[in-house]
Amino acid sequence: MDTYLEIRRFRDSQSIWVSRNHIQLNQLHDKIIHSVITVSIKQMEDRYGPIPCPFTFFMMGSAGRFEQSLWSDQDHGIIYQQQSTEIQEYFLTLGKEISLGLHLSGYEYCDGAVMASNPLWCKSLSQWSLQLESWSLDSSWECIRQLLIFIDGRSLYGEPEFLENLKKKVYQTIHNEKLLKKALNNTLYLKKGIGVLGQILVETHGLHSGSLNIKEKALFPYVNAIRLLAIKGNILETTTLSRLERLSEYELPSIKRELYKKQFLKLLNFRLTLSKPDNYENSHYLPMTSLTKEQKKEIKEILKNGTDLYRYVRNLIEKEEN
């Protein structure tokens, strides 16, 4: 594939085949993103000459966690080896090119500008190191949020060890500075999915009336809780499922790990099979009226377990940091 248009056509022809399988779908996303990067690099080299130094391009957010739905937006960054104004200029331009390429291939721009076209997310190794340190030391709400975003980073092109080494450093600082509780507080807000009467709480107004917001009410508790445990256990993996696998018995007993793994995978597949994912917005909502009684019961279980997991993690961290 030599152009973004060809990539988009490829995506449109292929996604239908894998749209109901979580792993295959995310493999396809990886392949598409990789192709976009390749085309972008070729464009850059044609226009501005060869890549000036080794680098890595990494995805964050749901792509970083290998948890994209059929449609998702783009969150990404670049780490390059050497520091100079020209090199920075080059990689920022590359970042812009990739963002455009991803956009043309069907990935919406990120509202919060977490993109390699933004100098904040496109830096040399040494600058990244300084920035991560200052985020940790500053430890304001926004800085902690950015650290948590960074921790979900997964390298898709170039030198993965650039990212790995930085992440190890971040973990170290979090432990040294005792920031885990701050990280907990950063993602503490939990949108309730089940009411006191045991009913599923759906949207009451708007186009998604009667649907469950699975992104905020079901996925977030799992993703956020497991991310915190991953930081605690120095786990570099980014997918929620592999993080769960790697947790030690102390962080989460194996019987619970198996339960949450099963529930989370079921949730990912529900999202693909039961929502009407014709665009980015819709893929976050599950229309309740189209579900069977059994499916509703399963959703309730998933919501309940998500809340339990989140409470467990909260208690674990609060106990330890005191």
Binding site: K192, I194, G195, V196, L197, Q199, L201, T204, H205, G206, L207, H208, S209, G210
Partner: protein, 424 residues
């Protein structure tokens, strides 16, 4: 002059002032619950229509309600000039002013059903028609010695006369006007056209809550035995129970303690206790208020699901709670307090009083709805529609009806954005 006469007059005068201040509560309620672009219009028209209502009440309203006539309507005492009224233990002009305030409140409630889409002209014409043809007959039936008064209908301060009548006119209006642009999606789901200022709405509830002491406790029209204190307690308790109930139910069902819902719960409690405040024990007042808080929650959801767009929940707060309040005295009126009519079902009065209350609700409600519907339908054809054009509705009634925005700086930004899109 007799001291009791003077004190009665003074107390009811205070009541009248409090009730007129409730118009201020309604201004904040209605503007707070609607969008910024209509705020100036809503505030202004509320004062304007109270003016119209006052003049009409003086000219004919008072006479149609309290004049000599038949069980259906009064036919004397037009253009009241301040004379004393035979048989009244207070100043005639104070009583007149107190009643004028009630008529103004009922009309203001009716206009809830017009909000954010009716032409100013429709407000003006309906203000006159409502004040002559809709409100006075019902007030005469129940308070003016008409046929329902003869049956012993208990409506101490006007759950039926003021609130249900206003709400039924609002229902007719909202059915004829149809929902606001953007309220419903193509698939039938409803959007939340959120009000622009919850602080206004909350403040309005407090003003109305305090004003209600004039409305209910003032309706004793006498200081004899200082009974007004008891009425005020019941009023306060019902409002308190209403807000708590609405909070609990919205938290239980939706998972959130919805602020507009809590506020509507307080108002529903006030509306419901309006009929029964002088006839029931304090515990019953708590229960009546609590139930109205639950009812208003389901009522708002019901109307919304039926595609009846009720921007300030007038149908639920004044209609549903008004019906419940009127029926409640048929259940809870105690033998000692039932100075009008008979004790309620739970006090050995059997179904008699409940039946009288139901008859009052059905006949008054049906009359208010049918007459309003006919009047508005005629107005619609004569006035070439009651609703502003789509463009006017989108730029807001502040601009289309009055030529200036209530919040000029704020709305200008929004408007420029829309225009730049249009011209892009």
């Amino acid at each position: 002059m007799d001291t009791l006469f003077l004190m009665n007059s003074l107390w009811v005068m205070v009541g009248a002032i409090l009730v007129i201040l409730m118009i201020g509560g309604f201004i904040l309620l209605e503007t707070g619950s609607t969008r910024m672009k209509n705020a100036g219009h809503i505030a202004g028209k509320t004062i304007l229509t109270f003016g119209i209502s006052s003049i009409i009440f003086w000219a004919v309203g008072y006479g149609l309600i309290f004049g000599e006539g038949n069980p259906l309507i009064g036919l004397s005492d037009f253009f009241y000039s301040g004379y004393e009224v035979e048989g009244l233990a207070l100043s005639g002009s104070v009583f007149f002013l107190f009643q004028l305030a009630f008529a103004g409140i009922s009309l203001t409630i009716a206009f809830g059903g017009f909000a954010e889409r009716a032409k100013l002209g429709a407000y003006l014409v309906f203000a006159v028609l409502f004040s002559v043809i809709v409100y006075p007959p019902i007030a005469h039936w129940i308070w003016g010695g008409g046929w329902l008064a003869e049956h012993g209908k208990q409506d101490f301060a006007g759950s039926t006369v003021v609130h249900l009548t206003g709400a039924m006119a609002a229902l007719a209006a909202t059915l004829i006007l149809k929902p606001r642009i953007g309220k419903y999606n193509k698939d039938g789901s409803a959007n939340n056209l959120a009000g622009h200022n919850q602080v206004f709405t909350a403040l309005s509830v407090l003003i109305l809550w305090v004003g209600w002491f004039g409305f209910n406790a003032g309706s004793t029209v006498s200081v004899d035995g200082a009974f007004f204190g008891f009425v005020a307690i019941n009023t306060n308790l019902a409002a308190g129970a209403g807000v708590i109930a609405a909070m609990i139910i919205s938290w239980m069902v939706m998972g959130k303690a919805d602020v507009p819902m809590m506020l509507n719960g307080a108002l529903a409690g006030l509306v419901a206790i309006t009929a029964s405040c002088a006839f029931v024990d304090t515990w019953a007042a708590v229960l009546i208020g609590f139930i109205s808080g639950l009812l208003v929650f389901y009522s708002i959801r019901f109307f919304e699901s039926k595609k009846i767009d009720d921007p300030i929940a007038a149908l639920s707060v004044h209609g549903t709670a008004g019906v419940w309040g009127t029926l409640s005295t048929g259940l809870f009126a105690t033998p000692e307090l039932a100075t009008v009519g008979q004790p309620g079902l739970f006090y050995g009065g059997g179904l008699h009083q409940l039946g009288v209350q139901a008859l009052g609700v059905v006949s008054s409600g049906a009359f208010a709805f049918i007459v309003s519907f006919i009047l508005l339908t005629i107005m619609k054809s004569v006035m070439n529609g009651l609703r502003v054009t789509e463009e006017e509705e989108i730029i807001g009634l502040d601009m289309s009806e009055h030529g200036s925005y209530g919040y000029p700086e704020m709305v200008k930004v929004e408007k420029t954005a829309i225009e730049s899109k249009l011209n892009a």
